[in-house]
Subunit: 477 residues, 2 copies
Amino acid sequence: MNTYTVSQLLAKDQFGLEIEIKGWVRTFRANRFIALNDGSTINNIQCVVDFENTSEETLKRITTGAAVHIKGELVESQGKGQKVEVAVTSIEILGDSDPETYPIQPKKHSFEFLRENAHLRTRTNTFSAVMRLRSSLSFAIHKYFNENGFYYMHTPIITGSDAEGAGEMFRVTNLDAENPPLTEDGKVDFKEDFFGNETNLTVSGQLEAETYAMSLGKVYTFGPTFRAENSNTSRHLSEFWMIEPEVAFMDLAGNMDLAEDFMKSVLSYILENNREDLEFLEKRLLDEEKTKPQAERSEMSLIEKLKFVIDNNFKRVSYTEAIDILKNSKPNKKKKFNYIIKEWGADLQSEHERFLVEKHFKCPVILFDYPANIKAFYMRLNEDGRTVRAMDILFPGIGEMVGGSQREERLEVLKEKMAALDIPEEELWWYLDLRKYGTAVHSGFGLGFERLVMFATGMTNIRDVIPYPRTPQNAEF
Amino acid sequence: MNTYTVSQLLAKDQFGLEIEIKGWVRTFRANRFIALNDGSTINNIQCVVDFENTSEETLKRITTGAAVHIKGELVESQGKGQKVEVAVTSIEILGDSDPETYPIQPKKHSFEFLRENAHLRTRTNTFSAVMRLRSSLSFAIHKYFNENGFYYMHTPIITGSDAEGAGEMFRVTNLDAENPPLTEDGKVDFKEDFFGNETNLTVSGQLEAETYAMSLGKVYTFGPTFRAENSNTSRHLSEFWMIEPEVAFMDLAGNMDLAEDFMKSVLSYILENNREDLEFLEKRLLDEEKTKPQAERSEMSLIEKLKFVIDNNFKRVSYTEAIDILKNSKPNKKKKFNYIIKEWGADLQSEHERFLVEKHFKCPVILFDYPANIKAFYMRLNEDGRTVRAMDILFPGIGEMVGGSQREERLEVLKEKMAALDIPEEELWWYLDLRKYGTAVHSGFGLGFERLVMFATGMTNIRDVIPYPRTPQNAEF
């Protein structure tokens, strides 16, 4: 007798097959019908217990959350909604689940409650679907890069540099917190710390990725990054995963091509491989939105949004053009935007990005050639002297999804930029070396993985798309 | 005119094809022959410069490390060692490389020197091969788990728990190092820290992975882990990557099956996909070993060692049997071991593990059922009350490669173990919940990724198989 997963059994039509299955009871009704799940699919298999020949004691122990080992026969289902079910011949309770205390009751729980029980929340349909999609998206990313000649690179998590400039950092230390060693002038003596100097958690692997691109050609990172920012919002995490490809000899146009092809590829992968989870989440989102006022509802369903990205060419628009469009737009003139666009140089907010994508162009948008002074030091300065070869990709519902640039490959220009921002050359000597020895045009982009998972699942709080979210005041589990 | 990679061109035989290629000069000899590399393969393509029609100034700038853009024609090579070469029609220097100062000279550099220039070391054959293999192994791992119904899970890096017990931890903080806030009794007030309590860098994702296995069925992690141990050896890193699968309803025998199948699968993948890099590294290792005394040389070449693992069944031996074998072995009796095995209960050292694999069984070995008191608290206690369902997989040359166990699924037994080790239940309440609600047999293992890369590349210092190693006193780059 073979052991199968729920997913395998639901795909079978060999009626009469003797099978074994192990899983957890989702519901048990009429002393007869077990809805059994084992994580292999969003769907449960119905297991029909012969209650007349099952002891009262066993029947009592078939409760929501209990782990069971079932032997039985695969039969055609008489009920609707399923082709097959299991006629149970024996059932063993592996692990009980006290219905009085089990937190995951067979009812709707608030996401807030489930965050407090994050160790159990993948026992619900919503979170199991989200985490299967998260896994699938991860694989799609590795597959895409592998098929396109990229090497996966693990950039360091602990870094001695604080010049990356992407945000506030966490310190990593094993000095005594109460009595740290001090230097003669009374400051903490980081020379005594584990790494012999002050170290932090990385905010980006880009600079290190550039070193590998300039030898291996095409590389990407996919790893955790950190921000010690006190932002308690539904869009910020202190610890999140980022994907950062970096390619030698590629200019900004090539970077746009790559990002567009990449996004379409990974979203197509989940449409092909995770249809049932997506359909479940699409329905969930529709139900949730029904409780909202009409104006706040999405114009597109979840799967429509994915197809919107896959089927449309991304519109490429310079920052300068975008500012003109925004300045002359209705919401700007009628002061409907929270931030009114007054002139060239303004930093765009999510409301502007969404306007461009959802109202004006009605397709994903790539904005490029941003003002130099609102972008990072390593971006390639254009000949106009005031803009850099940066790009942001804007998606419906979510705004910025990807940020990238062609990198400044000219040693002297880069040094000037660093000097203007007080970034010491000694700290990035190795980064400068790339411009000293065999420099070349190169480009890359960064993608916050959780942003992508939010987009792909329709979840609206970033804490609900990562297993154990880290946020200010919270590192539970 | 299309742009190709070196790898693509070397596979072509369309002589006369007009091509473009961009890459870095490895060597330039006789004012004529450029060996060009772009990272796409260990091999260079020979580009033949028509020096009579090339300016003296350009010829001077074709130096090791320079980035160039070549246009030319693919022709049959007259030289040996290559089928095709490029007859250069035009060459543009994209980035110079001053031969007086460029650290990577066309000669053999010590690995120590290259570690100090880790940002440039992938410009050498050895390190480009190692890092391509590292990437390939990563992909093989994701592919294996994806094909076998596992979900990839990102366990948290920052953890509020210090109960994992796998080693010394790094503290993560953003309190003022000089003037941390203090409680009334003069201790550092971690309530004021970013996460509202003391937090550390994770040493393992296993406990969190168990939570997902107990709902999604089969999961794995592949992420960075940390040890704040002051070990300055060729086998220790402060930051390294670990793979940890965890499976519900799987016992220790199933765990062994999984680990053996997994190891064979990922090593087969690189044999199929990275042949040229492996052959290069095999030759490198042979050359290196020629400088050593006979006794210290490997009995097997690099590829032979990979095949040794792939082609042999892993021998399963209980700890108790292994102790008997070791006690009665020649090196034990003749006191050749540094640590003499005297009695049951001894912790095995690398020398013993290697003896079992290389001398006694001559195949990879899985040791199981270890004494409870030398293993972690979460391992399933056997009925004998003195051993636990732990396993270690031993490989030739390297000793322990995998460590795993069936997990203690019985609430009361687990609580007793924790109490005996002073692990507070409050800290692992969520871990205990797994035993309260729908508990079941489950198992998993951990694999240090850099160990695997060392085994697969023949590199003998762990600092040479990760891009930017973090070790005591060193977090450079």
